[in-house]
């Protein structure tokens, strides 16, 4: 059994205009120690998918269907004390923008000991020792545990966030745009750190980013989301070497490559569809250069093109499955 099995997950939001189908039937598996990238444009539902796994949805959001099987429990159904016991102990999250995710009036050390004391029967001295170890692990001088967040730079605060996420030795860490607000040099430092930690601690990770090139460097698996659905899913190498879905192809071509030829990247014209009233048929059909009548009427299902490589497009045919 996989560590995490997400099956046909649907997460909707109640809004004044109607029900917004932010995540509309996504499925994937994640094994122990694997890192999966979840990529897509803003508003495609990638963060909502991750928040659903931790059940951290805002008040108007709810899981409308599907299951999230994490270590033998269906997270979609777990509530109350049971949920609190899992959160942060087994699954933790590194939020986007470490600047705002830390409490400015509490010492960073205290903020990290809090979940340890809540989840484990240890005394404060042991917890503090753990925090010092964690600081060393993420590359911060352990003597800084009594400092406040404002005394840390952006990159260091992100390291504090990582230490906090690792406090209770979780099995799965979700990283929501972990490096978006950071400079390239700091980004490289943080990504290298995340990769090393993942291998050292055998962590499973879901990294959410709009930046395919960040995911290309950190993840073994890659899922591409578009308008609430996963349109392509495979190993990262396979997705880049052999993209099947027109959206994936377009997205890869949209990134300028500093190691490649010097030419203007391609763009995908148009905008993603409204998710309150999604169009029938393929959701990408309006922006797709291959779209035919069939695409406007019938929704393509995710098919296995090659072993372990899935794509949802009417024009991909299975090859050697």
């Amino acid at each position: 059994m996989s560590l995490l099995e997400v099956n046909d997950l649907k997460t909707y939001f109640k809004t004044q205009e109607g029900t917004l189908k932010a995540v509309d039937g996504i499925s994937f598996n994640l094994e122990k120690g694997q890192a999966m990238g979840l990529a897509g444009e803003s508003g495609c539902g990638k963060t909502t998918a991750a928040l659903s796994i931790m059940k951290l949805l805002p008040a108007n959001g709810y899981i409308a269907g599907g299951s999230i099987n994490f270590m033998g429990q269906d997270m979609a159904k777990v509530t109350g004390e049971k949920l609190r016991a899992i959160r942060w102990r087994d699954i933790s999250i590194i939020f986007q923008g470490a600047m705002n995710a830390l409490n400015p009036v509490k010492r960073v050390g205290d903020q990290i000991t809090e979940p340890i004391l809540l989840h484990e029967k240890v005394d404060e001295a042991t917890a503090e020792k753990r925090v010092k170890e964690l600081f060393e692990l993420v590359g911060i001088n352990p003597s800084r545990i009594r400092e406040y967040p404002h005394e840390f730079s952006g990159g260091m605060r992100q390291r504090v966030m990582i230490a906090m996420a690792l406090a209770c030795r979780p099995k799965l860490v979700i990283c929501d745009e972990p490096t978006t607000a950071l400079d390239v040099m700091i980004q490289a430092q943080i990504l290298t750190l995340l990769k090393n930690l993942q291998q050292e601690l055998e962590l499973a990770m879901i990294i959410i980013s709009h930046d395919l090139s960040v995911l290309a460097e950190t993840c073994e698996l890659l899922s591409i989301m578009y308008a609430g659905k996963i349109v392509e899913r495979s190993s990262a190498i396979e997705v880049f070497a052999n993209p099947q879905h027109p959206y994936t192809k377009g997205l890869i071509a949209a990134f300028p490559n500093i190691k490649g030829e010097r030419r203007m990247p391609a763009s995908i014209s148009g905008n993603p569809p409204n998710l309150i009233k999604p169009p029938p048929g393929c959701r990408f059909s309006d922006r797709c250069y291959m779209a035919q009548d069939l695409c406007k009427q019938e929704e393509p299902s995710l098919i296995e093109v090659l072993p372990g490589h899935f794509a949802a497009c009417h024009f991909v045919k299975p090859k050697g499955v």
Partner: protein, 369 residues
Amino acid sequence: MSKDIINVDNLQVWFPVRRGFVESLTSKEQRWVKAVDGVSFNIKEREIFCLVGESGCGKTTTGKAILRLVEPTGGNVKYGGEGLTAQQVKEAMEKAISKKLLTKQEAEACLSSGCVEVTKLPKDKMKLLRQKMQMIFQDPYESLNPKQSIYDIVAEPLVVNNLGQNEADREKRVEKALDDAGLRPPKHFMWRYPHEVSGGQRQRVGIAGALVLQPQFLVADEPVSMLDVSIRSEILKLMLDLREKRGLTYLFITHDLSVAYVFSDRIGIMYLGKIVELGPTEEVIKGPRHPYTKALISVVPKPDPRLKTEKIILKGERPDPAHIPPGCRFHPRCPYAMDRCKTEEPEPMYVSQEHWVSCWLVTGEGKAQ
């Protein structure tokens, strides 16, 4: 060779550090945040010159100082495009001489080269000149007033500058600007509000607002970094089109080396208020000479997991521009730092005709200006 539209010479923007009460009593010396500390470059007509660097390196401040949206504390900026009549330039220079901002010789040198000394212009002349020098801002979500219609936003520069004979004429100019910015048909967008259009279209509104005054030179401050990747190159292509159609010249400011690589003609790498390497884009990206440029290029994520390249990850973070290290300002993070780097500041050295580097490790063919 085409002429220079912009010539920046030893530009400085220092911000005073506010002193506490006690500090002012003990009369400690005034400290400065040296955001821009001696930057020189030129931009030729119809060229895209790109300033790249980490946040806080002074690239945006440089752009703003050229338009005098922040006042430079030292150095010169010469503008060689059209904008002011010969009479207006003469008046401005005379005023600057009378205020002892310029010596007679400097003013004459400037006049004979057909340039305007931007940093010495009085406010009213600067306002006139700014019609020809405009800026495109980074965040199309923050830079547009949500209570104004797109028409009002784009027409505002006309109102401020008292341009256009009547409302009908203004409408025509706004329509043309929207059309040029790719918002077609303009009538369809004109009476909408920013929240009704997408992110890419918002940025086009920002560009239309800059175009409506028929500028010749544009400072584009990270114009695509807030946009989704799928629409970034649309905006970049629009900017290239406008260069062809309207003969625009750009100063493009970005932290994203891969965007700079595909978009710009020449590139300047900034670190802590100074340009450390400058040259034609292809040459700098494919053959970087400064250790900082090398490191910066090596850490740019590549959109292909099959490419495994070695990364030069610099330790630590950039120092505070209020405490610039002595000698080469990069030496505390430089993997190759020598004793000399700690005390002596390297001078720019040409490594090829148009490519110079400030590093003691680089032996060039002669000092740059």
